[in-house]
Amino acid sequence: MSMLTDPLWLLIITCALATFATRALPFVAFSEQAEHPLVLHLGRYLPPAVMMILVIYALRDFRPLVDWQLNMGETGLPMFLAAGFVAILHLWRRNALLSIMSGTGAYMTMVQLSWTV
């Protein structure tokens, strides 16, 4: 199979081009509009909104009837408990690495011990 017909390599090339496009777009197209108030407005509010949506998206397995998932370990309760743990730990210690590692460790322990409802 050649690289361009293998779905895996096609996916890698597609993702690489799409990712570079989002990073290069402002340098190519918007260099004149950098100070436009609409651009500033979106630049200010869109990133936090996207982050919040990504959290909801990552936690969607709490919802039943999911057939397509980013999180392969599906159990909803360990996910919610671990997510709450990450949030509280991060608000308390404000150490990104500590929050991510501890939360992931807690989640892995719960799903591997089949700690579900």
Binding site: P7, L8, W9, L11, I12, T14, C15, A16, A18, T19, A21, T22, R23, A24, L25, P26, F30, A34, L38, V39, H41, L42, G43, Y45, L46, P47, P48, A49, V50, M51, M52, I53, L54, V55, I56, Y57, A58, R60, R63, V66, W68, Q69, L70, N71, M72, G73, M79, A82, V86, L91, A96, L97, S99, I100, M101, G103, T104, Y107, M108, Q112
Partner: protein
């Protein structure tokens, strides 16, 4: 001998190294678990180089998504990079041969390092280049490490993908701390849960981010009609 300039850049990337090695390893382990060969996982970290984007790519591959879906999902997920670039237009001016790589390697973490420089470092393109290159090195090394751990089955890695969920939670809290305004989070909760309730799984992300952008456009028009209410 490591030169003073590289040492300075290396010190600055230390926190990113501690984040990228385990997260890159999580990606490598997950990729191997999904039966993606280690060299393909490496190619993703070398050519795509986007944390969340690479995890999403693996999920899309597993779900058998088409290339249009992959393109749209990647563009939407990475749309925040457009705004990173906008605020760095002036910063990267005159970076000459380094500029294409600086743009390619503009991840969330590199962006936060580059935008928190002070003094003469603010316009130091060589330093920005070293920071960007080292950050990708940590990411690629992490991926290789993870692929090796995953292949050797050194430990049960079930559930390790939660690292990405945890990263999103941490980034959201950091955004909230920086902005100190509820508006984008209220919009995101509304569109996010709305999409969760009414949209099929594969259109969830696109629908939620798309409608959030539209609501922000509406808000912009309302705000520009009453500028006194939205002065900073």
């Amino acid at each position: 001998m490591i030169s003073q300039a590289w040492r300075e850049a290396g010190l600055q990337t230390l926190p990113v190294m501690f984040g990228y090695l385990p997260l890159g390893a999580a990606f490598g382990i997950l990729a191997v678990e999904m039966e993606i060969p280690w060299y393909a996982a490496m190619a993703m970290s070398l050519l795509i180089y986007a944390g969340a984007g690479q995890f999403l790519a693996i999920a899309l591959l597993a779900s058998g998504a088409g290339m249009i879906e992959v393109t749209v999902a990647t563009l939407m997920l990475n749309s925040r990079h457009v705004f990173y670039g906008l605020s760095l237009l002036k910063r990267f001016q005159g970076a000459s041969w380094r500029k294409p790589y600086l743009i390619f390697a503009l991840t969330d973490e590199t962006y936060s390092l580059l935008t928190s420089q002070s003094g003469s470092n603010v316009t130091n393109h060589a330093l920005a280049f070293r920071i960007s290159l080292l950050n990708q090195l940590w990411w690629v090394l992490g991926t290789l490490l993870g692929a090796a751990i995953g292949s050797a089955k050194l430990f049960d890695s079930q559930g390790i993908e939660f690292a990405l969920t945890a990263l999103f939670i941490v980034l959201t809290l950091e955004q909230a701390r920086r902005l100190r305004q509820a508006l984008p989070f209220i919009i995101a909760l509304g569109t996010g849960f709305g999409a969760l309730l009414w949209l099929p799984e594969q259109h969830l992300l696109l629908g939620a981010i798309g409608s959030a952008s539209l609501l922000l456009l509406v808000h912009y028009h309302l705000a520009s009609r009453r500028p006194h209410e939205h002065a900073n």
